[in-house]
């Protein structure tokens, strides 16, 4: 079959990102030809500012060098500008500026022509020394001017203008920023924030002239620009004038080809222009009336566009919520969403002038819709996340201003502590304790490989890929290294893994609505990209199948992590540990004797009382496990599973002089009801007999506390990576109600949460109120949920017992090749 032809006009960030995404999906589908007007490969335009500031070099910011195009079989024409699209013959014509024309035919055309800087229509705007700030050539011109000249004037005090001014100042020029508005960065900041920013930039030596209208640029005796003259008659010297007064989508080519343009090349949710063979992405495209000027949206566009080019036809681009961050070292400004407010919105403002901190949060109907942060931007990522996901912030509203750590009560959280902690960290400082990755390694990877997302950093450095407690810190490092281009992770729209474009929610939904019952059916129905998934999606899919269709879907042991496959915890030396269940933490002399006997018989090196009120036998050889289980004669404690773990209890009214309720037997009843329950993540309960709460019910997924008149239920606590205090759920009178409410809460969690989401994270995502409505307020739903859980658990067999009877025997038996046959 002849390959199809794809031509890309614009060798910039959006065009090439779309090509990269396409190569991931369908590497063989197209012969790809790229035209770029600039004489370079694709580079990271946003890092021109650090280059200008002398913090990076041009070599540092290359995203795709010429070798990359070669390796991927892409024909690249640099320094050639496409001047004509012939839509009838389906070809483009490019000009190298010396009269040489190049033609290329296309089946599909991708326009990614970016923007052109807006040049003020004033006399003298074509003098030497008057430039825009857009590309490498501009940056080089500024660096050269700084070496030979003194006075720089930057027209426009937006992000770009301020970054240009800062860079020129650092290169020794005397810089004045001229702005027509009354305050700087008016599109990102309100006046209070802007005033603080201006003061801090002034302290770095920048000068500002606000409310000034430029009338003309005057030439110097040498014929170069020499001064700027304003409408009020005043004048300032200028050897270099940088126009940073805005950008316009570059639509000239599209318009000449008769494509519909309005504030950009008009595209649909599939990034197609009015000619369906022609796509457009990036700053040149107008989607639902908006042409974005930042990279995060164009990455999202590139992904959707590539999916359609690859003929997968999945995904719609629905617009982006954007956030911006000024890339001036030592100055922290962050803004996102709508911060100018309006009817029906409320502001929460913190304004500490001498402390140099200003924050404004804009709220509409219990949702965060905008944020401006100055001075302390550590929580920018968190606010942005809340904003993008449209989460209900009602419950944390009174603490919202004080940030993630405070609002969510994190204790001992290495990840979120402190303001610009990431920026201030030394390169050698360890960020990821699990994988031993230090800050310098992360920054280097971000720069060398042009990384933009947490996912990318995980892939390249392993940082934050294990326990995840350093995630916040890694996100901060990303943000401080690449500024606003950083794409905040967003689990609600993020694909499950590299094997699919669907996210967890969509996959759960599809398994339910299409009644998928096996792994293979799911791969097929959802068009999985890999033949049999990976170690990250398979366990998730398996859980979704069996929890959605109990007794119908097939459980797939090969898709479970080894612990769940072997029903014991693997140890670092390849041996296993076994934790037999002790219901509610209660045991008997007979059980203890058997444990002692087993430990001796199988030479178990370590016996330990766990934090879950039972006993761990550590260091058992895998082949001994079935024998150990048989001799123990106790059921599995599931200490290895994404499943019910333990129900801790205190002695309670059975013995304790303060006890108001019988907590031990309540705990045992709960544990027996839940035995064998698989869940998105592990589930732990505790029952205390009185509010002294000796069983620590306040940090459990479900905590039950006896009071004189009944029981209080708490949910979504977590004692692990980030300690989270459980939230009050409801109060009930009877033991039956404790069982019913707990079961209903957990069943809802089982049906709705994403794999590896603990109850606390699920509750944060969907909101406690919505859960209370369904479990506490709605008796009918509660009973139905309770019944569904009981149905799922019907006929559950102890996995250890099964295995002592020979189930999955191959799992435990090694094959021995006698010494004489093998001399390996």
């Amino acid at each position: 079959m002849m390959k199809r032809k794809l031509v890309v006009v614009g060798n910039g960030m959006a065009g090439i990102r779309a090509v990269e995404e396409l190569l991931k999906l369908a590497p063989e589908l197209y012969d790809i030809t790229v035209f770029g007007a600039e004489p370079h490969g694709n580079y990271n335009r946003i890092l021109l500012s650090p280059v200008l500031a002398g913090e990076m070099t041009l070599a540092d910011i290359v995203l795709n060098d010429l070798g990359w195009y070669q390796d991927n079989g892409i024909t690249l024409h640099v320094g050639k500008k496409v001047t004509k699209i012939d839509r009838v013959k389906r070809k483009v014509i490019a000009d190298d500026g010396k009269g040489n024309l190049t033609e290329a035919a296309y089946d599909r055309l991708l326009l990614a022509t970016g923007s052109t800087p807006f040049i003020l229509p004033v006399a003298g705007n074509d003098l030497p020394g008057v430039i825009a700030y857009r590309d490498i050539a501009d940056t080089e011109a500024m660096i050269a001017a700084a070496a030979n000249h003194k006075h720089a004037v930057v027209i426009g005090a937006g992000l770009l203008g301020l970054e240009a001014a800062n860079g020129l100042r650092l290169r020794g020029m005397d810089v004045t920023v001229v702005h027509v508005m009354d305050w700087i960065m008016e599109r990102q900041l309100d006046q209070a924030g802007a005033d603080m920013l201006q003061a801090s930039l002034e302290s770095k030596g920048l000068k500002f002239l606000l409310g000034k209208h430029t009338e003309m640029l005057k030439a110097s005796p040498e014929g170069r620009v020499g001064a700027v003259r304003f409408k009020d008659g005043s004048e300032i010297p200028a050897d270099l004038v940088v126009m940073a007064a805005g950008i316009r989508p570059n639509t000239a080519l599209a318009e000449s080809a008769g494509l519909h343009c309005h504030r950009g090349i008009v595209v649909s949710d599939t990034l197609q222009t009015f000619d369906p063979k022609i796509y457009a992405v990036g700053e040149c495209a107008a989607h639902r009336g908006i042409a974005y000027g930042l990279v995060a949206p164009l990455f999202e566009q590139a992904k959707v566009c590539a999916n359609h080019l690859a003929q997968h036809g999945i995904g719609r681009y629905q617009g982006s919520v954007t956030s911006t961050k000024l890339k001036v070292t030592g100055v922290d400004v962050f803004s996102a969403g709508n911060f100018s407010g309006g009817d029906g919105t409320e502001d929460i403002v913190l304004h500490d002038k001498s402390g140099g901190v200003y924050k404004r949060l804009v709220i509409e109907k219990d949702k965060l819709i905008g944020a401006v942060l100055y001075g302390d931007t550590a929580d920018g990522g968190w606010y942005f996340q809340l904003l993008k996901e449209g989460r209900d912030i009602g419950a944390v509203r009174d603490r919202l201003m004080f940030g993630d750590a405070f609002a969510n009560n994190h204790v001992g959280d290495a990840g979120h502590a402190g303001g610009s902690k990431a920026a201030a960290m030394a390169d050698e400082a360890e960020v990821c304790g699990c994988n031993g990755v230090c800050k310098g390694t992360i920054v280097k990877a971000i720069r060398e490989h042009g990384l933009f997302s947490l996912e990318d950093v995980r892939k390249h450095t392993k940082a934050s890929s294990s326990c995840g407690s350093c995630t916040g810190l890694v996100e901060q490092i990303l943000a401080s290294t690449i500024g606003g281009a950083y794409q905040a992770a967003d689990r609600s729209t993020k694909p499950m893994c590299g094997c699919t474009d669907f996210n967890h929610g969509e996959v759960r939904q599809a398994i339910r609505s299409m009644k998928l019952l096996s792994m293979d059916a799911a791969f097929k129905a959802l068009d999985w990209r890999t033949p049999d998934g990976c170690a990250s999606c398979r366990p998730a899919l398996n859980y979704y199948l069996i929890s959605t269709w109990p007794h119908e879907a097939q459980d797939d042991p090969q898709s479970r992590f080894i612990n769940e496959r072997a029903h014991a915890n693997i140890q670092k030396d390849g041996t296993y540990s076994a934790v037999p269940r002790m219901w509610g933490g209660l045991t008997t002399p007979d059980e203890l004797r058997r444990i002692a006997d087993v430990a001796e018989k199988y030479q178990v090196p370590t016996l330990k009382v766990t934090g879950g009120q039972r006993i761990d036998l550590l260091g058992i050889k895998k082949e001994d496990l079935p024998g150990v289980w048989k001799d123990l004669g106790m059921p599995s404690g599931h200490a290895y599973g994404k499943s019910i773990r333990t129900v801790k209890t205190c002695v309670g009214a059975e013995h304790c002089r303060f006890g108001t309720q019988r907590s031990m037997s309540m705990g045992v009843e709960l544990e027996k009801m839940l035995f064998g329950m698989w869940s998105p993540h592990k589930v732990k309960l505790a029952v205390s007999g009185c509010p002294r709460n000796c069983a620590e019910a306040g940090i459990k997924d479900v905590g039950v506390i006896g009071v004189d008149s009944g029981w209080e239920l708490y949910v979504a606590g977590n004692g692990g990576i980030k300690t989270e205090v459980a939230e009050f759920f409801c109060k009930v009178a009877t033991r039956e109600e404790v069982l019913e409410y707990s079961a209903a809460f957990l069943q809802l969690y089982r049906e709705e949460a994403w794999y590896l989401e603990r109850t606390v994270h699920w509750v944060q995502r969907v909101g406690l109120d919505s859960i209370k409505q369904r479990v506490v307020d709605d008796a009918e739903q509660r009973k139905a949920l309770h019944q569904r859980l009981l149905y799922a658990l019907q006929g559950i067999v102890d996995p250890w017992l099964e295995r002592t009877e020979g189930v999955e025997a191959h799992e435990f038996q090694p094959v021995r090749v006698p010494a004489d046959a093998a001399h390996a």
Binding site: K572, P814, V815
Partner: protein, 107 residues
């Protein structure tokens, strides 16, 4: 001289699973993981992850790779090489399947 030795039947390994073969005297045996992929490809790799020696046989098998259960390195079964960005290589052995019987070559 042919060094092929009979190990076990293909059926005795689940698809997307592995069995461990212990070669040599107990106590100092070499452990080799025999993998069977979803498409019945068979590979023999030393049961020792190039990262920190994790037992690869206990990992999840997907495509032609196994993910180590210890710290999630991915190892290509055919070559024993760690998948980028990780670096390292596990020793591999020649194996073949004839009439449903798996053979291993030790030399």
């Amino acid at each position: 001289m042919s060094d092929w030795i009979e190990i076990l039947k293909l059926d005795h390994i689940p698809r997307q699973g592995a069995r461990v073969v212990e070669l040599g005297p107990a106590g100092e045996a070499t452990r080799v993981a025999i993998f069977r992929t979803a498409t019945d490809q068979v590979y023999a790799v030393k049961d020792h992850c190039p990262h920190r020696g994790g037992p690869l046989s206990q990992g999840i098998v997907h495509g032609g790779q196994v993910t180590c259960p210890m710290h999630n390195w991915k190892i290509d079964l055919a070559s024993g090489a760690a998948v980028l960005p990780d670096k390292g290589c596990a020793r591999t052995y020649d194996s073949k399947v004839e009439d449903g019987q798996i053979f291993l070559r030790l030399a």
